[in-house]
């Protein structure tokens, strides 16, 4: 029941956004020209058809880090809420947990996962 409002709001927003999207095709002029839907590349012909190729691997690393920390956050939230009742035991447990988290962060840091400009072999051993 608590979420009823959210659900209705969701529905409203979806409808609204669809409406906003379709308004252009309803209201806008239709003057088809041969090159108007040509992808923007500073006005020169496309170098290759698809831009959907691979991206810099740094983004993957960011993704991995997000994965790591978001999941750890999932463990931390319940703890934050009931921390008051857990006392010193809870503190020690979570301190260890955060320590391990920090280790993960330090590892990524140390191994250069946070440095954007990758050399061919950054992982210096």
């Amino acid at each position: 029941m608590d979420y009823m409002g959210l659900l209705i709001f969701l529905g409203v927003m979806v409808v609204l956004s669809l409406l906003l999207i379709s308004l252009n095709s309803l209201l806008g002029p239709k003057t088809p020209e041969s090159m108007e839907d040509y992808p923007y590349e500073c006005g020169v012909p496309l170098y290759d058809m698809s831009a959907q190729s691979t991206f810099h691997q740094g983004y993957y690393l960011l993704g991995l880090l997000l994965l790591l920390f978001d999941i750890e956050a999932a463990f931390l939230f319940p703890w934050t809420v009931v921390y008051k009742h857990l006392g010193i035991f809870g503190f020690v447990e979570m301190f260890l947990f955060i320590l391990i988290l920090t280790y993960g962060l330090l590892y990524a840091w140390r191994k250069g996962a946070l440095d954007w400009q990758f050399e061919e072999e950054v992982f210096e051993r």
Binding site: H85, Y103, L106, Y107
Partner: protein
Amino acid sequence: MELKGLIGSIEFPKMALIIPELTVLITGFLLFTLDLIFKRANYKLYTWISVVGYFMALLYIAFNPSLSGSTFYGLYVRDYFSSFLHFFMILLTIFVLAFTYRYYRQKLSLYREFYYILSFALVSAMFLASSYNLITLYVALEGVSISFYILTALLRGDFNSKEGSFKYLILGGLSIALASYGAAFMYIYAGSLDLQKILTYSGQNKDLLILGLVFFLIGFAIKIGAVPFHFWLPDAYQGAPTPITAYMASVGKLAFFAPVVRIMPLIQEHFAYAWVITVGIISAMTMLYGNLVALVQKDVKRLLAYSSIAHSGYILAGIAVAKAIGLKAVLYFLIAYALMGAGSFLLLALLERHPQWQNKMEEFSGLRFSMPWIAISFMIFMFSLLGVPPSVGFVGKALVFTALSFDRLWWLAFIMILATGISTGYYVRLVVLTFMKESSRSIKVESSLAEKVVIFVLTLSVVILGAVPIIIWSFASQSADILFKR
């Protein structure tokens, strides 16, 4: 408020029980810290730290063998069985460590991560051997698996290594999904995550329990490498750095079999028959397939990987007999295979250090002249894998036969004879090549003292523990009795 009740029941963990795990874990974190602190790594120091840490855990277990109890609200159980397995896991890890440094240096693949991931794998394996709780089992299973994926992939510029790792990852992920799905069904059935409670619970929906158990076991069957769920195993074993292959074949086997073995005493009347049939058929397929395919292999590492599958089949044959005698046989065979598997793969790791070594079968010819002691030890491992007395392999097979004859599973026994017969083909061929064929090429590899000692100890233990099986038998028997008494 129930939260208050939960919080009131917080207990301080019984540290005495988990000291071995803790030691290994702290070793791992120490290595991790060193890795973070120092720019340049001293790999020998890392090796020594690991060895010392593991050795301390080993000593603790050796001096407190009958320590037992449970902590973490029943999530963790230490009993004789787990101590027994832990001992061998740690020992074999130390053995594997002796081979890593030179191997990786030769392959230009020294990674500092290796050392602490190894310790994480060990700690997870140890947890896997000491729990009845599905949560612990799940976490430990994932811990071992993920460590293995990484360890498998840690060979610089080697595509096979990555390929093996990826295949392992996919099928390992499948197995974990299946196992945890099975766990979900069992949880729905019994409302508990404790295997003991689940399997002894008398609920309405027996089908749900059996479905859950089947899923759970299929998950483990994939990890074990049982046919028809074995596809990853040869590739992962072949692709992995050979010391890691040895590690997977020894510690990995011990770890993945441990929960299945723990279930054995809990098998109830009403699905005992289904258990025997299912496990029996899987076992039969596994040993036949493993041996048949091994017969046509040209690559020795892959051959040994298939032989590992076949041995999983033999062990499963013992597991099909869900009685104390079967459990004892399985435990003995597990340890036996861990020793033999580790030994044979470590020998291969030693030979692989030769720059021209390709793991081809023909390369073994003439080995007797260039490296006689290695050849002899290789022969002993092959004979032991085959089951020629007096070796651990033989005693293991004899014990499995005993268990099978106890349950009158003659068909499985005959299939096992057939499978062993097939396996004669390739084991003896390797021995014949090593000793009876001469080759113009001479392969010589320098080995360090530690490697020599490890090979010597493993070879000797294969023979001695086979000639005087009481050494393992008494421990195996005792732990089986304890498991059954529960």
